[in-house]
């Protein structure tokens, strides 16, 4: 199936996603922060990235997505610009903003609120991998 990289500092959630995604035949990798996650993108070359927002820093996940989707010709991550990014977060009610996938403000492919029902997550992953 697919190589999925999860960048999230919540060990319990990572353990849960490993059980779920491996049960559905995916190869699962994880990193606990944005810096290690960005390094792993180059090493693993994932087919899809699951990304948390609030890790060591308040909006670390947003920074990761912006770096991965940096349109500059000399971007370090240019080869991974097309890798689908799914944001998993509980930030929905923590700000007065309502976030959603947007090419400018938040360059990601899907924005799912934790806890994401398993079937919804799997369907989102399948749809993005099939693109």
């Amino acid at each position: 199936m697919a190589k999925i990289l999860m960048i999230d500092d919540d060990r319990d959630l990572v353990a849960s996603m490993k059980i779920l995604l491996e049960a559905h035949g995916h190869e699962f990798h994880s990193m606990p922060n944005g810096e290690a996650g960005l390094r792993a993108v180059g090493e693993i070359s994932p087919n899809l990235i699951l990304l948390d927002v609030m890790m060591d820093r308040y909006t670390e996940g947003f920074r990761v997505s912006q770096l991965l989707r940096d349109p500059a010709d000399d971007s370090k991550y240019a080869a991974y610009r097309a890798v689908p990014i799914v944001v998993l977060t509980s930030i929905h009610r923590t700000t007065t903003h309502r976030f959603g996938p947007n090419e400018d403000a938040l360059p990601v492919d899907a924005f799912l609120e934790k806890p994401v029902p398993h079937d919804q997550l799997l369907a989102t992953i399948d749809k993005l991998l099939a693109r």
């Binding site: 319990d12 996603m17 934790k114």
Partner: protein, 249 residues
């Protein structure tokens, strides 16, 4: 030795609430994820007694999550952190909220219908402020109905949009109607039907209405249903446009 009085750091209430919310929601959300792995058999099959206990814990955790969300909504509305300034296309917001509750309504055999004027109704309050109001009204109507229809409609006059949510549910007993806007109050028939409710739904509706300059009208008959209408001020431009259109008619 010189003494210096410690200065209080400036309080960013919004950032603090964001952090508190994150720290409350995250463990609840992860616990629900782990429980659903158990209940869906990803780590082995449970016997009926174990499955029943897990189902009960799942229900409690879902309640806890709703409670956290409701408390945060109420705090951000009351403290002015929820963005008040619109405009909002009310029909779009209401359609989105109804879509969120459609699966729950269908699962209970309820018909959830939305009727709105064809013209876009622009109200002056922000969608972030109005979302909890519409959500609570539709959630209550679906939760406290066991059959029949839930009708959501939007009408417009020269100054107000009238949002109406009408159900054919259990209704509110006459002697409880004065209390339903109080925090954590739950009518006896509501508790009997749905054990786990936060008692914050209508207080949130009232708090939003206060911020948005709206008026609430409640009609209910026990055993026959409840109708709640909220009159929301239109934007000045929408109001002028409506008056011009009416003058031409």
């Amino acid at each position: 030795m010189a003494k210096r009085k410690a200065a209080s750091p400036p309080i960013d209430a919004g950032a603090f609430l964001s952090q508190v919310t994150h720290h409350l929601r995250a463990p609840v959300a992860v616990s629900r994820t782990m429980l659903s792995l158990l209940s869906q058999g990803y780590v082995g099959k449970m016997d009926p007694q174990q499955a029943d206990l897990v189902r009960r814990v799942e229900a409690r955790m879902a309640y806890l999550q709703t409670l956290v969300d409701d408390l945060v909504d109420l705090a951000s509305i009351r403290t002015g952190m929820a963005d008040a300034g619109g405009p909002t296309a009310l029909g779009v917001l209401v359609r989105d909220v109804c879509a969120r509750f459609e699966p729950a309504a269908r699962a209970k055999g309820l018909e959830l219908g939305l009727a709105s004027p064809t013209a876009s109704v622009l109200v002056s309050a922000a969608s972030g402020l109005l979302d909890p109001l519409v959500t609570q009204l539709v959630r209550n109507a679906v939760t406290y109905s066991t059959s029949g229809t839930v009708r959501v409609s939007i009408e417009q006059d020269s100054r107000f949009a009238r949002l109406v949510v009408a159900d054919e549910g259990i209704g509110i007993p006459a002697d409880n109607r004065a209390n339903v806007f109080e925090e954590f109050f739950r009518a006896a028939n509501a508790k009997a039907l749905e054990e786990l409710g936060t008692g914050l739904g209508l207080p949130i509706v009232r708090a939003v209405a206060c911020r948005a300059g709206a008026t609430i009208e409640l009609e209910s008959a026990e055993g026959r249903g409840t109708t709640i209408a909220v009159l929301l001020p239109l934007t000045a431009a929408a109001s002028r446009s409506t008056m011009r259109r009416r003058a031409r008619e």
